[in-house]
């Protein structure tokens, strides 16, 4: 049996790709990914049209996709996250069918439940053997975990592995086993290492971000959850990562032995593992070289699939045992609904990723955000887009005070007792507006450009086009 084929084109042909089918990609190569563009270029060249692309995330490097949309090669997009470069065009209304946003847990659930079946999955693999046992831990394009690729590999009708490091059979330390793989293609480069992972993830130097991070660590300390067995996830951006640093200091000082760190993993979480703050890291995606090195060498640093990470259909997922998650927001409203899909002008620039999954699972879901950004208050009456429902958010930490979801009375009392400056979220909104002024409301267009689908399959919100001024 020979699975190795000579070219992507040959694999597409053998997989039987036809007009109207669905193809899928994972985003572990992030903004360094060449594979989606290579595959799409071949498909366009072969004259195949009307495809649905289900990509776990889309980055600016995938801008050529916009041409395939204009040329009707691609007529529908499903994704969990879309960076601003792609999102801006989508917000201009270039597609006839609205994009469907899902969460990192909702996507695999819908794939597994047959709601969004995949005809051909293209799996970029930093290392694969000739039968398709593959991993992200080795090779010049190493990305660490391949967590988001598992549901695609396990459920697509045909699966093509594309690698730039083809090794002899068997690759022992594989992530995805050969049992799911139909074809293997060797190419020169699957990605640009500089865009795949950062050299090091640095915490913010912004003093306001650090002040919020310190407050967030204090909230965690006062929540009653910070004790032996503590589990934790944090975003990789700005103040959330800085909060992890302050949390680490508290855990070491008070000799607290946590159970696991979860999520997209950075070097900071690796440090916490190595310094005894956690027993294990459960890693669905690596953000920097230190995380890649750690998942390769440390048995306590374990790869998990997207389903295991956050799947709402799984019998249990790691988010379900999570104590605390630290998350960001572009906006939050007085009902604690959070927007991470659109920017202040209504353009798409993100997506839930694991935001709504972890918020739903964690005992304490915290948002860290400055009271205003570029003069725009963070707290609004109603967010432009609901990415995560307010009922799953417990706390908002800003630099001028902390708001607790009224549903969580016990937490509020704990924070008040710890002299944390607890304020009503309406008061935070008023404080922000007293500094910034009251912004005029955005005008929305009347064309639906995206739908945000919650992890339980219900429609959370609809995003409309941004009208040209």
């Amino acid at each position: 049996m020979n699975k190795v084929v000579n070219s992507i084109r040959e694999a597409i042909k053998l997989a039987g790709l036809k007009d109207g089918m669905t193809i899928s990609f994972h985003h572990h190569l992030r903004n360094g990914d060449y594979v989606l563009n290579m595959v799409m270029a071949e498909i366009a060249d072969m004259g195949i049209k009307d495809l649905t692309v289900n990509a776990s995330s889309l980055f600016d490097i995938h801008a050529p996709l916009l041409d395939h949309i204009k040329n009707k090669v691609v007529t529908k997009l499903l994704t969990d996250y879309m960076s601003a470069g792609i999102g801006h065009s989508i917000s201009m209304g270039i597609m006839d069918t609205p994009v469907e946003f899902r969460s990192h847990g909702g996507r695999p659930a819908d794939i597994e439940l047959g709601r969004t079946p995949i005809d051909v999955a293209f799996i970029a693999a930093p290392t694969s053997d000739t039968m398709g046992n593959c991993t992200g831990k080795y090779g010049k394009s190493a990305c660490g975990s391949l967590g988001y690729a598992f549901p695609d590999a396990m459920n697509a009708k045909k699966v093509v592995v594309i690698t730039d490091n083809l090794v002899d059979y068997p690759l022992i330390d594989y992530s995805i086993p050969e049992i799911y793989i139909d074809y293997v293609v060797k190419v020169d480069e699957i990605g640009n290492p500089a865009g795949i992972v950062s050299g090091t993830t640095k915490i913010t130097r912004d003093p306001v971000g650090l002040a919020m991070a310190q407050m967030a660590a204090k909230v965690i300390k006062s929540s009653g959850l910070l004790k032996d067995g503590f589990s934790f996830q944090t975003g990789a951006g700005g103040a959330t990562l800085a909060a992890a640093k302050f949390l680490k200091e508290i855990m070491i000082k008070e000799n607290i032995k946590g159970s696991y760190g979860l999520g997209g993993i950075t070097g900071y979480m690796v440090d916490m593992l190595n310094e005894g703050c956690f027993e294990a890291l459960l890693d669905v995606q690596c953000f920097d070289l230190k995380a890649v090195e750690s998942i390769r060498t440390n048995p306590k640093h374990q790869e998990v699939s997207a389903t295991h990470y956050a799947g709402p259909n799984a019998k249990s997922a790691a988010v379900d045992s999570l104590d605390v998650v630290l998350l960001g927001a572009t906006e939050i409203d007085t009902d604690f609904n959070v927007n991470v899909n659109t920017d202040s002008n209504g353009y798409i620039m993100g997506g839930s990723g694991g935001h709504s999954d972890t918020a739903a699972g964690a005992k304490l879901a915290m948002i860290i955000a400055p009271l205003s950004r570029s003069r725009l208050p963070i707290v609004t009456d109603r967010v432009n887009c609901i990415s995560t429902p307010g009922r799953t958010i417990d706390v908002l930490v800003t630099q001028k005070g902390v708001a607790v979801n009224p549903a969580n009375k016990e937490l509020k009392q704990r924070l008040v007792d710890a002299a944390i400056p607890v304020k009503d979220i309406h008061e935070l909104k008023a404080i922000a507006e007293s500094i910034t002024g009251v912004p005029q409301k955005l005008k929305k267009g009347d064309k639906e450009v995206a739908k945000v689908i919650y992890r339980d399959g219900t429609l959370l919100d609809t995003i409309y086009n941004v009208p040209v001024m």
Partner: protein, 293 residues
């Protein structure tokens, strides 16, 4: 309560508007060295407007003005004093007359704007050899002076020596300043530690300053604020002792005793005064942060 004083450049809106969330007891909005000559006017108007339109919560405002040998200091005071900052920090103060000149001009401005005399206080920056030698006279010069602040960088230039991390070159100035300030009954603040990335160094430098008798310390980086606050806060032991002092006084009163002893030591007036300060500081820390770290 003023343990930490954080410098913020006076012409940088992004830094100033968030000045009250950085944990510092005071912020020093700087019109002097942080502002180039071409931007003095812009910084002055910006600082004046932020004081006029923004609220700074739990944070004292100090404005550092240009020295009286420049063309800027009067304009600085004209714009800033009517907005009633807590303190003005005059720079390169070398003798009591410098302060009297500034005091007289401030009184004029206060009168002109219908403000009570001495509304705005002074914390002179002592950063010349002459200033150090005249520290006591400066401290006693007018009622406006409520604290003094030692500037080690300019001082070492004046002393013809190199500023070092250990700071042997300013040890005389430090002690002299503390002595002068305490003799005059005012607070005294130590020079900033300038290596922003040396987390151990800032702690050592704070502890040294505290051991010499300084009330607190200035900082050029928000990163140093929490260490300064920590070192210059009373310890749990200090707080427990302060409460014990008042408990002992109460018990003695109930028993009708004149002399009061605690742990075999007589409680005299300075001990009571010190206990009072510790408790008032502790209560303020509890109000702001919930307790000592």
């Amino acid at each position: 309560m003023r343990r930490s004083m954080l410098f913020l450049p006076g012409n940088n809106p992004n830094m100033i508007i968030n000045g009250d969330v950085l944990g510092s007891d005071s912020v020093i909005l700087d019109l002097e060295d942080a502002v180039s000559p071409a931007e003095k006017d812009a910084a002055r108007i910006l600082v004046r407007n932020t004081l006029k339109y923004l609220k700074f919560e739990n944070c004292e405002i100090i404005v550092r003005i240009n020295s009286i040998d420049t063309e800027y200091w009067k304009d600085d005071l004209d714009e800033i004093v009517p907005l009633k900052p807590d303190l003005i920090m005059p720079t390169k103060v070398s003798c009591a007359d410098d302060i009297r000149t500034i005091d007289a001009y401030m009184s004029e401005i206060e009168k002109k704007h219908g403000m009570e005399n001495n509304t705005v206080h002074l914390i002179p920056l002592i950063e010349t050899a002459m200033g150090v030698e005249n520290a006591f006279e400066i401290a006693k010069s007018t009622d406006r002076v409520v604290a003094m602040f030692l500037g080690g960088e300019d001082l070492t230039a004046d002393l013809h020596c190199k500023r070092t991390k250990v700071g042997n070159e300013i040890s005389y100035a430090r002690s002299r300043m503390v002595s002068a300030a305490r003799a005059a009954g005012i607070d005294v603040y130590d020079t900033p530690f300038t290596d922003v990335n040396d987390d151990e160094g800032i702690r050592v430098d704070c502890e040294l300053a505290k051991s010499l008798g300084f009330t607190g310390k200035a900082s050029i980086s928000p990163r140093h604020v929490s260490v300064i606050n920590e070192v210059f806060s009373p310890s749990h032991k200090d707080v427990d002792y302060a409460y014990e002092v008042f408990e002992a006084i109460k018990t003695a009163k109930e028993l009708g005793k004149g002399a009061i002893a605690l742990h075999g030591k007589m409680i005299d007036k300075p001990i009571v005064e010190r206990a009072r300060q510790v408790i008032s500081m502790y209560e303020e820390i509890v109000r702001r942060n919930g307790g000592l770290d």
